[in-house]
Symmetry: C2
Subunit: 429 residues, 2 copies
């Protein structure tokens, strides 16, 4: 069944507006145009579908449903019938699409509204229901070498200047680690790199390979502060240009090599394998390839760390995020991550879940992003501004309510006894 | 093909000895009785089957094979042909059987010999080969309520006086935690209880349920030091008698209740679920029942800790250990443990692998056990003494070379934000 005004005999929208809808969807908003009984039914049904969160939903003519008890300070307003029906029939994808196009808007805090919806939906829907399983198989597309490049280009090559507007000065686009509540983002990103380095008990002169190095900060930090040699792989060209320039300026080209290649193309033997924020883009069905790479490149006393967005149960990212923001991305559950370690005798030494640190990191990003709104709009357009705001706000909400996790997993070869006695060294000084 | 002298035309053993074999196997040992060519072939083949570890293997007549390079300070001596052939045809089970019966003995350090064999076998055999898979399905018997009681009775009800000989004064029969290298066993067992308590961030007055409480020390320690109320479940009658007496003497009966029942019979709602050293006895196919129990008994802000022997890959305990020492036991891999958490929206916050701490704990036990040998022999017999020595020594070797792991997993309900910000509090003071 397709949606749209044409099929609704109950339409009360003036034909002029209908015509405009096709060309300039935003223009249809008219608070005075009365909605029909079907629209009201759909709105009420949508609120129930969401699990009756403590928010209000409103139509373009001001008609409302939602929580009545005064806890609903956020309001979701639909601007036109077509937007309402699209969201009703495919909420996972169309909520994002309609928000991006400005055909619905949120009054009050966007993060709070999303968190309320996520939490109420989690109460209503089982994460292991057959629908979620079906969905899992339907949407996933394998990351071949070529498609992986396309997927990564889609997100990471949209301009270093854009990311510079709202990331920290080191350009770390992964979860920070806040040792204290009052640590700021810049300190927390450096603390994250040190947390990772300590977990890997690096020794000067060791050889480190980094899979998915972003703008190169971790590789540079490890080489400078811990005296190791790093080969850092990435398939985002724009990021590597920036990374190489920084290494050159720091006079560290002798210790850090940035290589434009896929993790599957890693060559050589290393004491340490590290990957921060790449696994999400690998896809579960490619974990055996990753496992082979790690097995091939690690020395007998080698160890590694994988830092990745994850989930408490197998499942997919929101459909809109996968379509518009992160094509090919798939955050794994721990049992899925085990497919990297178990088949090749890698022993998991330590798993830390720092989900709330990612909520805080994203909150910092969102605040900086909102302050840079006019600059983003000048670079792209209003749709882009809204899409990325929704992505950042939705991510804050997802980490806060636990639909996403952040796992740091430390591993070594099975039976290797050159491992730290306790984890106390992570928290010294 | 069955084994034994009767079927070997090459036998050189005097018929008198053959007759004695059936009644008193040990009596057959006669260093002067010459072994045949087949025995020598078998011995050489056995060494190759083991992956050619740096040990020597010897027959009853003094004939030897093994490492030639001087690294072989340990020697494994077979006392009779039947023992040799039994071990050759079913090494996993019969090595333990023959050692127990004194029909083979080890010169040099038993732990070192076992560790060398395990390590060389791990090099030769893939942990995921079809044989290991076959073996997995063949030997496992589900732990019904009744059989679980039988299995636990087999190991834990053989006498508190026996365990008192070689455990610490608190009678903790699980992996200790050694914050420093020089911590002794008694301190390390208390440190383990505090490590567990900190991981659970207990608050005075909270309600704790313990599944599988052993001789009751952890429950008593948590109640006394952390001011919580504990209901502790166990199906070993002997252990509970001891536990209740201790609680009575400590005047803590108002805060600790010991209940003789299976974990599946846990009733009530609790802030904390804790289980130290029980999961090994549950069996992977019962994890869904355990998961249900946890889900049923935890409050919305509840959290839990499971401390268990584990493995880097799915697999079974050594066949002899399962037959003679721990019937029904099955240490899980992390992917197998995930079956407890993932289906019911439990979020894993922290996994720590303290395998080397268990090797050290077992080393302490083995030393005390060896010092108490004459007392153990007076309680049981020489076969029992040898069987338990092999079990303890084999366990030291298994944890040291990584065929066994020790996982502590902390979890909370998905999306619960009343969790510690970092793990630093575990290492304070």
């Amino acid at each position: 069944m397709s949606t749209g005004e044409k099929e609704s005999p109950m339409t009360t929208v003036v034909p002029d507006y209908q015509h405009k809808t096709k060309e300039h969807p935003v223009a249809i908003m008219n608070p005075k145009a009365e909605a029909g009984a079907k629209d009201r039914l759909i709105l009420g049904w949508l609120w129930k579908l969401m699990g009756q969160p403590a928010i209000r939903l409103a139509l373009w003519d001001g008609w409302e449903v939602g929580a009545e008890d005064g806890t609903a300070v956020e309001r979701l307003v639909f601007h036109d019938r077509r937007a309402l029906w699209k969201v009703a029939f495919n909420p996972e994808l169309q909520f994002g699409e309609m928000y991006t196009k400005g055909r619905l808007h949120v009054e009050g805090d966007l993060v709070h509204l999303l968190e309320k919806i996520y939490r109420s939906m989690a109460r209503v829907y089982s994460p292991t229901g057959w629908l979620s399983l079906l969905e899992r198989f339907r949407f996933y597309r394998p990351n071949s070498l070529e498609r992986a490049r396309g997927n990564i280009h889609h997100h990471y090559d949209i301009g270093n200047d854009f990311y510079r507007l709202w990331l920290d000065p080191e350009m770390l686009y992964t979860c920070a680690y806040f040792p204290r509540e009052f640590t700021d983002l810049e300190e927390a990103q450096i603390a994250k790199m040190d947390h990772v380095a300590r977990k890997l008990w690096l020794k000067p002169g060791e050889r480190v390979v980094e899979a998915g190095c972003g703008w190169g900060s971790l590789a540079l930090h490890l080489a400078r502060k811990y005296g190791v040699f790093v080969e850092a792989y990435n398939i985002s060209h724009e990021q590597l240009v920036h990374a190489r320039e920084r290494a050159r300026q720091a006079g560290m080209e002798c210790r850090v090599r940035y290589i434009e290649a896929d993790y599957r193309e890693i060559q050589g033997r290393f004491d340490v394998f590290v990957s921060v924020g790449m696994l999400e883009h690998v896809g579960v069905r490619h974990y055996d390839e990753l496992s082979q790479v790690i097995d091939r490149c690690l020395t007998p006393e080698g160890r590694g760390l994988i830092h990745s967005i994850g989930r408490d149960q197998p499942g997919n990212l929101n459909a809109w995020i996968r379509k518009r923001i992160f094509p090919g991305a798939q955050p794994p559950s721990l049992s899925e991550m085990s497919r990297i370690f178990e088949p090749r005798g890698l022993s998991v030494l330590d798993v830390e879940n720092i989900r709330l640190h990612y909520a805080k990191t994203l909150d910092y990003w969102l605040q900086k992003y909102d302050r840079a709104e006019s600059q983003v709009q000048a670079m792209f357009d209003a749709d882009f501004v809204r899409a990325w705001r929704l992505y950042l706000a939705g991510s804050v909400a997802a980490f806060r309510m636990g639909s996403l996790q952040l796992f740091q997993v430390v591993f070594a070869r099975s039976g290797c006894n050159a491992i730290p006695w306790t984890r106390e060294h992570l928290y010294r000084g």
